[in-house]
Symmetry: C5
């Protein structure tokens, strides 16, 4: 709910808090220009220096934030501001774009569906003149299709600069939310059917859970949208005009996701009403059964009680046909009550049939 890694209150700005479960960083480099492509795993940050020297696009992908020393080496090599480094490590940050002289920092939140659960991970991207430096919390991401595209000789991405790569990564992150939204859509539809058929308290729990997840999604997408907008709008030497057109498409996707989230939220709210009302109807049914049973038998029991009295002078008791007459009278009373309730619409097996058919 609110699990942010943050330095102790009052600590020096730029203090890094390495999470206990953080994995040690693995560094993968993809370097390409036109036909040229080089893919490497790197062990020490120092090995990067020669790779960056010629003008080819260099994507340095760091997976894992578990080693403060390695991160500081990166900070030194790429002139990363201490506050920017803090943002990379102290996850989760709000998605945002910040411009520095050497590069532009873009913080995003990636969402993955793994075994039916939504996993969230922060991705920080530094877009420099000829490199893109990404930091992920763990291995496992939505970037494999981008890697495939880079590997494909002659692809547009191979002939574009680092800002196109940044766009491609950002686009992959944002489009990664589509399957999640679709899953929500399916869950909501399934839930609606369940609520109609059998409103169990457990469903309320599920509704509450979906509400929470949607809230978390909205918190992730909303600032993402602002960040993409800032990249389109603000002067930025690292982003070309061609890429700006592509980012506009990215922005549209963010808006569509927001739309879908808001719609889901409203529908979830509506489901709550339907649930509560279904429960109310059930309770009503319980009440009706009680009322009908009690109303039919209480007067009859009273009548039987009358002739169970032991008064010496009760002339009816001696009349031979009194007993059958009383039984007939009881039947009349019972039938009268049934008719009364049927008129009120409380009993109505015959009418109920079409009523429930109407329901579908």
């Amino acid at each position: 709910m609110f699990r942010k890694i943050h330095p102790p209150v009052g600590a020096k700005p730029g203090t890094l808090v390495i999470h206990e479960q953080a994995v040690p960083p693995k560094i993968r480099v993809m370097k390409y220009r036109g036909e040229q492509l080089e893919e490497r795993d790197i062990d020490a940050v120092a090995e990067l220096a020669p790779l960056l020297e010629d003008g080819a696009v260099c994507w340095i992908d760091v997976q894992g934030l578990g080693d403060a020393d390695v991160l500081r080496e990166f900070a030194e090599m790429f002139s990363i501001h201490p506050l920017a480094l803090e943002d990379v490590v102290n996850v989760p940050q709000r998605p945002k774009v910040e411009m520095f002289d050497e590069h532009t920092l873009c913080i995003t939140r990636m969402a993955l569906l793994r075994d039916g659960r939504i996993e969230r991970e922060q991705v920080a991207m530094f877009l420099g003149s000829n490199y893109v430096l990404t930091f992920q919390e763990e291995s496992g991401d939505v970037f494999d299709p981008v890697r495939t595209r880079i590997r494909k000789s002659g692809a547009i991405i191979r002939n574009s600069g680092p800002s196109y790569l940044t766009y491609a990564l950002l686009d992959a992150v944002i489009d990664g939310y589509y399957p999640i939204m679709e899953r929500f859509g399916e869950q909501l539809e399934a839930l609606e059917d369940e609520i109609m058929l059998d409103p169990q308290p457990a469903l309320l729990q599920k509704i509450h859970q979906i509400k929470r997840d949607l809230l978390a999604l909205r918190r992730a997408i909303w600032p993402q949208r602002e960040a993409v907008n800032a990249m389109i709008r603000d002067e930025n030497p690292f982003i070309t005009d061609t890429v700006r057109v592509y980012l506009r498409d990215c922005y549209d996707h963010c808006v569509q996701l927001m739309d879908a989230i808001e719609t889901c939220r409203e529908l979830t709210g509506g489901l709550m009403d339907v649930y509560l009302s279904s429960v109310g109807n059930r309770q009503n049914e319980v009440m009706k059964v009680l009322t009908i049973m009690a109303s039919i038998f209480i007067p009859l029991t009273f009548m039987a009680g009358i002739y169970g009295m032991n008064f010496e002078v009760m002339p009816e008791l001696r009349v031979p046909w009194a007993y059958p007459l009383l039984l007939v009278l009881m039947i009349i009373v019972a039938v009268g009550m049934v008719v009364f309730f049927r008129r009120r619409g409380w009993i109505g097996s015959l009418q109920k049939g079409p009523g429930s058919r109407d329901f579908e």
Copy 2:
């Protein structure tokens, strides 16, 4: 709820996803200038080139998005940006206006009432210097009156440029929502009467459905309004000032529709309250019947129980007028209870008459 066709996550921008149920494209051309009018069905995109050569207005209407090759041929002939083509195919997109050098793209959502059901379809319009190129998901649209107007010799539309045609199509799309809103209005009124007379759970279901439909309508109209506003406001070489005046009228219609949708939404929320309250009243009625029946007969049954006891010494049992006296006492108790309940306003067949008349 959330059924957007979108390319696989991380795919190259401009990737087209042809929906399984997409129909193959049918191309219809209307070409007109002053008295001249030519109407044709076309099989191959290449046939279009000669038609576009002289300055007459050319409306190329493509119905069906089921063939990626045909779409790419269009893209090539009309210099459509890959992202624009993606927006045409990967439906539904949010209504929007995007300007390119060669043309202006206007994405709208058309709504049709077919057999009492609302069908939605995306219409993408490219407004160029002497052509309007429209892409629809299927055949069947709201544009027949526009075609009739074009066919009518001497009509204003015959002597106006392609931006007037774009306006006419846009206006037809937006005005197509009016009959739908009217149907909602009627449904809500009918629903209100039903809820007053007989609050069935099925009605709740209907309210929920209407809420969902209104939500979807709002999602369609709101960005439409923004798009029309952008066409009025932004510099655009393809839109003449005369047409801007007409677009202002279009914009007014969007605002009126939004107004109507918001009003319907608020009324739907109110209906929910009325429904819940009607159900509550019913439950109250059930409770009252139970309480009245139980309260009248439980004391009487107790009295009968007393004289059903088998104590040897119960002097009352021997008194000859004890039995009729007890019966009289019971009647007094019962009448007392009835009077008590009538005073509380729980029984009141006489007063109820005017009360329910007051209800109407």
Copy 3:
């Protein structure tokens, strides 16, 4: 709810839809300048031409929109744009101000209290250099005091131009909402008292009706305010600076009305809560009576049932003082229950007195 007259979808812009119940137009002219005043009923539009020739202010008031030909004659004489004429006829339009070269069109909604019902009517005003042309749906309006002021020799209005007349008419329309808001205030107060005393389902119906009416009022006033603001703010050759000061007053009235409507809306929402809670309290009362009756008599009936059994060996039955003893025991049980319920605060006729006094 949503009853707009609109042309068939896709029709030519400017298509007029004459409503079946529309009355044929009656034309009244008031022409004045300083001491000079002329009042006339006119049969044919052509008669107007000579009246407009000298520079005197001419108020042409058209009541009834039932004749498309007459309307087109007006359009021709006053150079009314087809879309403007459409707005005049296809009622109701959203209140708005639109500027044309020849005149300024101002669409407003007039509200009248007639026999306790709110009647709404669209008034369209064309403000030209020396005329004000108004179109009303029917005869009957709120303009009689303005007519009286014109007839009064030496009044400010007699010495002011047509923009002052427009202001006077607009002000009359807006001030016409005050009596309606006052009636709402009174209704809400009456309703509140009724709900406190006797929460009947019919009252819910009334609350719902008031909510609908307030919604409609808000829809009428909100754009009116924007329209007046546009008249104050925008450059307009037909409106003098003196009149702008008066329009500021008009604008304040709109804001006050909006304030009052919002307040009424919030109060109506609050009434709903009070109603539901009152109903809940009633239901609680019903429950309490049932519980008290059942809890007192069920144990007693059981005790009576015990000694109604026919076992041969029941020694108590033979004890002579057993019967009176049991009766005493029963009284003790009953009194015990009553004390128990009184302690819980369920019975308390004595305490209830002050409680309900506290209520007022």
Copy 4:
């Protein structure tokens, strides 16, 4: 709720409506400059002219609006625009600031706690080059401390111009809302305790009343804030820069009041929930008692009923220990039901103790 004095619909702008209960105006003048101070009650407006001649600051305080002639004399002497005079008389107006050539009009709403009731009164202030002219509805105001400050020789106010006096009056009006907000705070806290202890329907009534009062307060403070802001922001020859700094403080107070009102409103909404939930808990208690009583005794009564039957062949009836055995069985059944309900947590006097302790 909505009790505005307004002229008849369509009346001439500037029409004054003198309220029946309006008191005749009393005029008090305070004139000061440095050491010089003069305080006077004045009978005729004409007496004012000589007082205004030299440059000393003149505060003319008019209490009561009951005499249209006197008001018109004021209007003439101070060149008050007819619409401004209308705003002074036709109370209540929305707080606002309006600039005229001769002076600036500032309309505010003063709130007074008198005998525990909130009384509201409009104060209109005209700030001219060397005078402040205030109009109050009645005598009795929050300005006595300001008068005391003026009377104190050497006070800052004595050496400042009329705009400082206006600030002092405005500040007194706004600070006058603080005690009222404190009273609301106390009421809400008291109410909360009452609702926890004993949720009576009368409390709902009180909540509703507080909601209405807070709504009215918000309506008064919100435009006040805008008005003060306009005085700080807009060019105004009558307001010095020094006073602007003080007005910023005034503005802060308005914002704090708005904050407090919004907080109170949200808390009131929360109280409603607590109330409804407390009532629900009570109802639940009632239900439980009924269910426990009925569930225990109904089976016992049935058992007693069995052996009350008069069949000739009922062998148990003859068994001597059958009666005590049945009694034991009945006790077992009763104890079993009690244990069942205790397990469900419905009965639990022992556990309830700590539960309610936990409540505090």
Copy 5:
């Protein structure tokens, strides 16, 4: 709820209200520049003058506002505007930034978790050319880590100016809210579990309390964010560009806190729904038990009642196997009722098991 210390209504601006419980001020000075560091407690304000003479950064921390004379001495020495001093003393003020010629005043609200309770305290900071003057309500604050950083030779803070110190203090104040938000997160999670397991009325009380606390937090953070933004955005000679970058980080933290607060608020609202629904389910359970018990035994009791009647002619009574037959019939009726209720899903110990497992 609303406990602001404020001067009497209408008092002179700048009037100080010393709270009864205000503690006498303790003055601590930290003076540093590069390697040089001096830490002192000071008794009289006059001792400060020599400390401020050379250009070293001077942090004067005043803890306690209980002595108006000392405060006035400060005001004189540092040229504090009377209104600024009023803001320092009359706590709590809304967080804000105000610029004066001599210094910038920054009002913030510090929150401390002490013994599990949130304590709030106002901190006013004056940022001058070479000093930072802070006023706290009491001793005890979140600034100890900042002091430690100052004491550490060679720290960045030692070589930066007073605006960096102001940033460090502001950052400590804002970061101090993180532990509080985490505690809320934990409380909400614990509460949710409790509500699922056992919805007690006391939990509602807790929810209400959390809502109030979150409201108070929001009121504290929201203007803080605006204030930090003003410091970043506005021209200010006392704030260097380097510090502006750090303040941007501060601003991000404010936004994150707002996000967390809003999320908690929505979740709290959701908990309310879950609580109400859990209570409703409980009530439903109670109803079902009652209905089942009554529906099974009422008909049986009636049957027993029939044969308890004393009619002379009741042939069944003489049939020897009538009694066992009736018992069998009664068992059939009871089993039938049980089957009926099981079909309706009201009884279902077998099905319930998996149902509640599904719940987790």
